[in-house]
């Protein structure tokens, strides 16, 4: 069995697509926000791998072609952004103010948590870049001496939280404007949240992708200052 899987080039992709497909079906049937296709897909794949005792590394190697698409897909977020750019005219100040406050809230909360829970520098550096896209987050964590594998897990958990809670948070805090929603979702939960923003609406998704890029750059600049000042 393991030999067969090792020689098959597609089982990892197939398992991924089945997991996501099942998640989508369940989501459509139940119409519950917590029945999120991505979350259900992740749980399904983890369940199958654990039951069949297949190591994650084997699955990752087999699903690697999907990873190659991550950069082109992220770059393509610029296309809906470009299409919606005209709707952002005269609102750039509001968008930038929102993203900057989000980044400051994120860094501030982690610093506060670090102080309250008496974290050391390594631990604080692991969490500091948790709201930004994995590529930037990992770079920042590495430069500051944090634990990289753990940081990437927290970044993914952050994305899933944003993806799951986006609709609820917008309702709870009465964020009704599509641009404001996009800024909130993208700044808080990077590309995984942005996938949700696109489900809510094209403009939300476009603003969310812009926020991911800007929040990532701001965090890359501000996180080292925050960590070096306080830890």
């Amino acid at each position: 069995m393991t030999e067969l899987l090792k020689n098959s080039a597609v089982w990892g992709i197939l398992l991924t697509v089945i997991g996501y497909g099942l998640g989508t079906l369940i989501n459509r049937k139940t119409k519950q926000a917590w029945c999120n296709p991505l979350l259900l897909g992740i749980l399904f794949v983890i369940l199958v791998l654990s039951l069949a005792k297949i190591p994650y590394e084997d699955y990752k190697a087999s699903a690697a072609p999907l990873q190659y698409l991550l950069l082109p897909a992220t770059v393509c977020l610029a296309v809906p952004l470009y299409e919606n750019l005209s709707k952002l005219k005269g609102r750039f100040a509001a968008v930038l103010a929102g993203i900057l406050s989000g980044v400051i809230i994120s860094l501030g909360s982690i610093l506060l948590m670090g102080w309250l829970l008496k974290m050391n520098r390594e631990q604080a550096a692991t969490l500091i870049a948790k709201s930004v896209t994995t590529a930037i987050g990992i770079d920042v964590t590495q430069t500051l001496g944090g634990m990289v594998p753990l940081a990437s897990a927290v970044i993914i958990l952050t994305g899933i939280t944003g993806n799951l809670c986006a609709v609820f948070v917008c309702k709870l805090f009465r964020i009704t404007d599509p641009v404001a929603r996009g800024v909130g979702i993208g700044t808080a939960s990077h590309a995984i949240g942005t996938a949700k923003a696109f489900e809510i609406g094209e403009l939300e998704g476009a603003v969310s992708s812009l926020s991911v890029a800007v929040a990532g750059i701001l965090t890359a600049i501000l996180a080292p200052i925050a960590i070096n000042l306080f830890f």
Binding site: I42, V75, A78, I105, I136, G162, G184
Partner: protein, 123 residues
């Protein structure tokens, strides 16, 4: 069909330029952010027309959630490390994310309403 191949080619070319920039420039900015900005600039400057990338890019953006599924499953092999540092990780992932989302969304909405009230005729 040919058109799709060319569309994909243009996207990959931007990605390659982005990888070059990320490797050559001494800034902690990954290729994905350079690529997003390059694509935006190429579209804005009409170096690439919208319909020259639109179909392929809609497909790639559409499958984005599936692309994140694979690294997310990696959490299963990090369970031991995660458990030792679980409380801070969960606090950072859940309440802080909600706080950031609400904060940045509300600030955007608030600044916009200020402009609408105070800046009539400016836009």
């Amino acid at each position: 069909m040919m058109s799709l191949i060319f569309q994909f080619g243009r996207i990959l070319f931007i990605c390659f330029l982005a990888e070059l920039l990320s490797a050559l420039l001494p800034l902690p900015i990954p290729a994905s952010v350079y690529g997003l900005l390059l694509m935006l600039a190429a579209l804005g400057l009409k170096l690439i027309k919208l319909d020259q990338v639109k179909q392929a890019s809609s497909f790639l953006v559409g499958i984005l959630p599936i692309l994140f599924l694979v690294p997310a499953v990696g959490i299963m092999s990090l369970w031991a490390e995660l458990r030792a540092f679980l409380l801070p990780c969960v606090l950072a992932a859940v309440p802080v994310t909600i706080l950031v989302m609400a904060g940045s969304g509300l600030v955007t909405q608030w600044v916009q309403s200020l402009r609408k009230k105070g800046g009539k005729g400016r836009d």
